[in-house]
């Protein structure tokens, strides 16, 4: 049972990737859809998509830091 925290960390990393991938994928899909419907609004759509994208990425990165902490500090 000494290495059980590694399982937790690995599982957590997988879940983070699933969550972040789904989130970013949905954002990108919606942005591409919007731009295809209204090419003249490209700048506005890109601007509106950027901020939630970075906030989402921040959450994923935070989770990764905590996973790293689990591994390093046991």
């Amino acid at each position: 049972m000494e290495v059980i925290h590694y399982f937790g960390a690995a599982l957590g990393l997988g879940l983070i990737v699933i969550g972040a991938g789904l989130g970013i994928g949905r954002l990108a899909a919606a942005a591409a859809d919007g731009i295809a419907r209204q090419p003249e609004a490209t700048d506005k759509i890109t601007g509106a998509v950027n901020l939630p994208l970075f906030l989402l990425e921040g959450v994923a990165i935070l989770a990764e830091v905590f996973v790293l902490l689990i591994v390093l500090m046991k």
Binding site: F54, E57, I61, L62, E64
Partner: protein, 307 residues
Amino acid sequence: MEQVGDNIIRHVSNSDIDHPIFSFPHLFHIDPTHPLYSWLAAMSVTKHVLMLWIVALTVGLVVILPIQRYVQQRRLIPTGLMNALELIVSFVRDSIVKPNVGPKWVNSWAPLILTFLFFIFFANAIGMIPIFDVLGVINRFIFHVPANDSHNFINGLLHGGPTATGNFNVTAALAIITFLSIIIAGTKAHGFIQHWKNLVPHGLPGFVYVILIPIEIIGMFVKPFALTMRLAANMTGGHIALLAILSFMAIFADMFHSVFAGLGVALISVPLAAAISGLEIIVIIVQAYVFTLLSAVFIGMAINVHH
């Protein structure tokens, strides 16, 4: 094989507090255990502090000097490096600061945001240039300094093309500047009392405030905390990924007790590491942009209150 993990951690972390690069008590021949001078030992220059100085020097040479020279000359047409700088400056002012902060305050907050952008960009970018690793190779094989000589200057720098922004303390300092500027921006725009009142919308039933006020106060601290973590973790994460992929060579050679296993893995891992370096260059630019964009958004949120 156990050395791999140590190597990676030493590469991304700051130098040991007992072995800084310049130790001030050492330089001035002062007893570091003396109670009057213990602060001097704590002020010793580590890898990341040295990198911050180099970054400051680079920003001075590449950004401040050309702008000073441009301001002093009579002609209005920019030349050379100033062309690129003007492009960046006008981009930041017109599409990062102005939409968020608003036309009234754009000139008071654009300088801060620009400083963030240039400083973080250079700090990130210098971390990708393996200056000290090259110096270490020269040191080791031309000057024949043994690798375990911990008093050697170059050896102290080794295991790091250190990224100063990969250190949580550096990014925390930057985020604290953002935190204070949010308060200053709100205070200058609305007055001190009104800025704190603006944190929550008014005209709601009383019980909502019981939940809302703690949430808003926590949110006030979460914003700079997320800025800190995002930048530092991104810079550290990229370096760890690069080194881990390169370390596969050592791990496989050790596992099969043969050099050829390592060479075989090198055929895959070196191109992969090169590709990830390319990705890192994008990450460097995007993270500098994100930090400045989010700072501008947060400062703008304190100025243009939406309720």
